[in-house]
Symmetry: C2
């Protein structure tokens, strides 16, 4: 099932995507819903972020090649994480499919994409085993962990390097039937493939993260975990269009503009 | 005005505290409200966290003496922050006044208090000057940034050292008429004063933080910023009671228990 949130005629609704149609539902995927029978062409609605997360977790460094690429750029030895320590991002930065990533006026040219799998939590859980971890997952969506590398290196936290307004595109929808083991993540810049990797090739997998996290914290419906990115990343500039395509989920596309 | 959120007769409401009474309101302090005229003794209600924040910002290191104490413990030179880089905490960890701080089974003895002023945002703002920064503040409450120091040193992020369930007591209410320039923060452990400092003696003040943050991000009603703590901190153990008292706001009190 493919959950979308959209605006049509001035109001926001949840819907279920089937082919090129979206059927409006009352309620939402977390607390329950009813189909209304009212259908619209997908092309007629404005897609919103699939949900407003309760807590926005991010694995950060979670793919070996990305660690090696980042270390090489700094002339350092790669420093692989030893544990599934999770970080945070912030809701102010979220934008939907097709909305513009706005580069702040004083950013450097090093504003870069990071294509990421987003795990959407559907059940309240604590102390979950790895074997049971997938039971709390509602589905998956696509994220772009846009990063200003100069600020990332200069600041004590990642508050503006990764959480400036519009730096967290997410969408276009939540796919509940996808299997991470089968996914391929592809990033395209102006149509050219600039990054491609097996989505599940993580240092610490989804089940391990959920099991480790819930030793200490409760996961709630509407929480989400961004799972990190692999490989090298490159700069984006005003006028570019970036797409993150995860097979089995969909394509998240956003244009880049400069702050006025 | 003193905003409280409370449970009574099985449902949650906002109320306005006047002396030892609370008057129920419909609505909330962020989107508008009406007084109902229905009053209860404050002692008869169960206090909840004053609000569920939208984004939970934390200044982190923001008082000189705290930096010097922390450095001395590690045998290092103090490393004062050069900029108002803000960090994040997580909603799962929030508990209300009088609710227990639960020490995880595998925590070390180094579970410590940090008394902090909490700034509650009431208006949507971006690109705010320092001169105008206070206009977006609804009021102030009290926080205890409970920290497990062994995990804080060992982990790549502060996800469990500072965000384990129950590690973020907050309350008892939001005071809208307080002035940070006049406040004193006092922490008491089992009635003994263990920390005391001028609340406004920050490295980067409230107006500076808000001005810097809003160069890159939008602050929304219901966002909050925890402003950091000063001085040394010490261990808390099961059976202890910790109080954070900020003059002009109120006293946040929580008992400590062990996870079963």
């Amino acid at each position: 099932m493919r959950w979308i949130r959209y605006q049509y005629g001035g109001s926001n609704s949840y819907g279920i995507v089937e082919g090129d149609k979206v059927e409006q539902v009352s309620g939402d995927p977390f607390d329950g819903y009813n189909r209304t029978g009212h259908k619209l062409p997908l092309s007629a609605v404005q897609i919103r972020i699939p949900f407003e997360p309760r807590t926005f977790y991010a694995a950060g460094i979670n793919y070996e090649e990305h660690v090696r690429e980042a270390a090489a750029l700094l002339g350092r030895e790669p420093d692989l994480p030893e544990k599934a320590d999770v970080g945070y991002r912030a809701n102010n930065a979220l934008i939907a499919h097709d909305e513009p990533i706005i580069i702040p006026k004083d950013a450097t040219e090093r504003v870069q994409y990071e294509g990421e799998l987003v795990v959407v939590i559907g059940k309240r859980v604590k102390h979950v085993t790895e074997a049971d971890a997938f039971d709390c997952i509602l589905g998956y969506t696509v994220g772009n962990d846009v990063s200003e590398r100069t600020w990332q290196a200069a600041d004590r936290t990642m508050w503006r390097s990764k959480n400036a307004d519009t730096f967290k595109p997410m969408g276009p929808w939540i796919e509940t039937d996808a299997n991470p083991a089968d996914m391929q993540t592809t990033v395209r810049l102006n149509g050219d493939v600039v990054s491609q990797f097996a989505t599940n090739n993580m240092i610490f997998g989804i089940a391990h993260y959920i099991s480790e996290m819930t030793k200490y914290l409760t996961l709630f419906p509407g929480d989400m975990i961004w799972m990190g990115t692999d490989g090298a990343t490159d700069n984006m500039k005003a006028g570019d269009v970036v797409e993150v395509d995860i097979s089995g989920i969909g394509v998240l596309r956003n244009p880049i503009v400069m702050e006025e």
